[in-house]
Amino acid sequence: MTVTTLTHLPGQSRRGERLLIGLAVSLSLLFIAAPLAFIFARAFSRGWEVYAANILHPMTLHAIWLTTITAIIVVPLNVAFGIAAAWAVAKHRFPGRGILVTMIEIPFSISPIIAGICYLLLYGRQGLLGPWLQANDLQVMFALPGIVLVTMFVTAPFVAREVLPLMQAQGTEQEEAAVTLGANGWQIFTRVTLPNIKWALLYGAVLCTARAVGEFGGVSVVSGNIRGQTNTLPLHVELLFNDLNAVGAFAAASTLTLIAIVALLVKAVLEGRKAG
């Protein structure tokens, strides 16, 4: 009875309900499931051996390695940044707090390609800091540092965005209680604050990883697409595709897809923990 009243509003027929569900399912299949299946179908279209050969191609392996190393550097840094920013905003009152909240959100609203161009104009050879960097023999653009910087910029909000609302909801009383009980700053952080946010933090880190691994636009501006040197996995997919090596492109894409699917599964599990 209750279920009927909840799902079946007056004036809304059973048929309309079924139609909506059918529409949602077919659209999901058409726009999400089909392309995913297509990636794997194309990747394996010439059999296992060709797939394996494509994945194990030195250029592809290098791209996988570069993407991995970027994520390994970026994610911990952004976890640290996210915690610090959320902590500052949620637990303290200071002038400019509102501006900081807005700044954390900026990477969401700016196209990554613009971020890439900004970094190029700042750190590039003709850029603002270019002469100084060159004089000191520091290569930022078209090298790993540039890729890391742009990826960091693009993925900066993920952790803070997850942790901040939780910290704000929890307020500062537990920390105050810990202070009065004699705990020092580090003890308060590790024993009180961190356990309270750990699931949201992991969730943010997973989102951050997924985005870092998949970042294309910003990185394509600053990496220079040098094969075997500054080619990340998404860039490599594009290169292979432009080379008319469709199977290779899809094989590389399948690894990215797998990473994304794993991240989503972990995220789904964490979401349950976070809510519980």
């Binding site: 009383e173 537990q174 105050e176 209680a177 810990a178 202070v179 009065t180 009980l181 004699g182 705990a183 020092n184 003890q187 024993r191 009180v192 356990p195 309270n196």
Partner: protein, 369 residues
């Protein structure tokens, strides 16, 4: 430990939260800070705890300047209204927290901590809850655990911020008695904040009434009830009926008021304000009187009358339903008011605001009729 506070002030932005607090608390005393919300009582408590810092003033505990000490080093037990228990720790771990975070050279051994926690669990009658988590406890149980966590560090001073504010009435009374027992057993100097008069008077040795960042009066129940030091305290203590009167040669007079029961007092002639409680007013039928009964409701034992005066507005009266004249008290009947008990403050804006806490008032000490 004894606490001595002098000249404490605190501003938040444009608001003066504390405006010069002077207060002494004796060792082993149980003191209540009583006041409406916004009176600054919680801020004062947090300053003593080291969770807030004053803009000026002094805070000495056993002669030591506590404003030079961080909260961590004051060793105070602080109990929050909403408990602030650590949700990911069992009751046992919550209680042990204050001991477990001590620097290594001061930290008791594991066995000592366990024994200490067991003792506390037993003392607070919560031994059966030891392995539960805060979400598995009722509000009253959580507050017992919160108090236990604070007591575990053997605090110099125990501070409680509206400790029973989030609990329902029956549990409040229960916990009040229990807290009194705990206080008597531990003998720790204790200050608690409340907006509930009953709670303050039942539990505390001394009650500090606060209003708008100042201490309005310090005393115990009878004195504060019968001799409010300021109009603020009078209103807060339930003297909700305010009547303008005129003082002439020490006697108060007012339109339609019978003030013969109030004694003569040494105040200058002129306008004044009388503060009284609805139950201290007797309405007497009088065809020439200016007050008229607007509504009459009965709760069985008492009649509540709302009276209206053409110039002075409305006043409430509580009178026993079986009293002799009660039958004549019908809607629209003209009545005069006999005031059995009340406090008079000289008129003028100065006296009416909370900023003047001078003992310029005279109270009426009269046997109730």
């Amino acid at each position: 430990m004894s606490i001595s506070i002098s000249g404490l002030t605190k501003r938040f932005g444009q608001t003066d939260v504390l405006r010069g607090i002077d207060l002494g608390v004796e060792k082993g005393e149980l003191v209540a800070l009583l006041g409406p919300s916004g009176s600054g009582k919680t801020t004062l408590l947090k300053i003593i705890a080291g969770l807030e810092w004053p803009d000026a003033g002094q805070l000495l505990v056993d002669g030591a300047d506590w404003l030079q000490l961080a909260a961590q080093d004051r060793r105070i037990g602080f109990v929050f209204q909403h408990y602030a228990l650590f949700p990911h720790m069992s009751v046992r771990d919550n209680l042990a927290f204050g001991l477990a975070v001590r620097p290594r050279n001061e930290r008791p051994g594991k066995a000592v901590i366990t024994a200490k926690v067991d003792e506390l669990l037993h003392f607070l009658q919560i031994a059966h809850l030891a392995d539960r988590y805060p979400t598995q406890l009722s509000g009253g149980q959580r507050q017992r655990v919160a108090l236990g966590r604070a007591l575990a560090i053997e605090p110099n001073v125990l501070l409680l911020d509206e400790p029973f504010g989030a609990l329902d009435a029956a549990i409040r009374r229960d916990l009040r008695r229990w807290l009194r027992g705990v206080h008597e057993a531990t003998g720790s100097t204790t200050i608690f904040v409340t907006h509930d008069q009953e709670e303050a008077f039942e539990l505390a040795d001394r009650v500090v009434v606060m209003g708008e960042g100042k201490i309005e009066q310090i005393g115990h129940a009878d004195a504060i009830h019968d001799h409010p030091a300021t109009p603020f305290v009078a209103r807060f203590m339930g003297a909700t009926v305010e009547l303008p009167v005129t003082l002439l040669a020490g006697r108060a007079e007012g339109a339609g008021l019978d003030l013969a029961a109030l004694p003569r007092r040494a105040l200058g002639d002129g306008p004044a304000r009388l503060f009284t409680r609805p139950e201290d007013i007797v309405a007497l039928p009088d065809p020439k009187a200016p007050w008229r009964i607007v509504t009459r409701t009965s709760n069985g034992a008492n009649l509540r009358l709302v009276l209206r005066h053409p110039d002075l507005g409305e006043a409430e009266v509580d009178t026993p339903r079986r009293a002799t004249a009660a039958d004549a008290l019908v809607v629209d009947a003209p009545v005069r008011l006999r005031i059995a008990f009340g406090t008079i403050f000289p008129d003028g804006r100065k006296a009416a605001t909370a900023t003047t806490a001078q003992p310029a008032s005279i109270s009426i000490q009269e046997a109730r009729q």
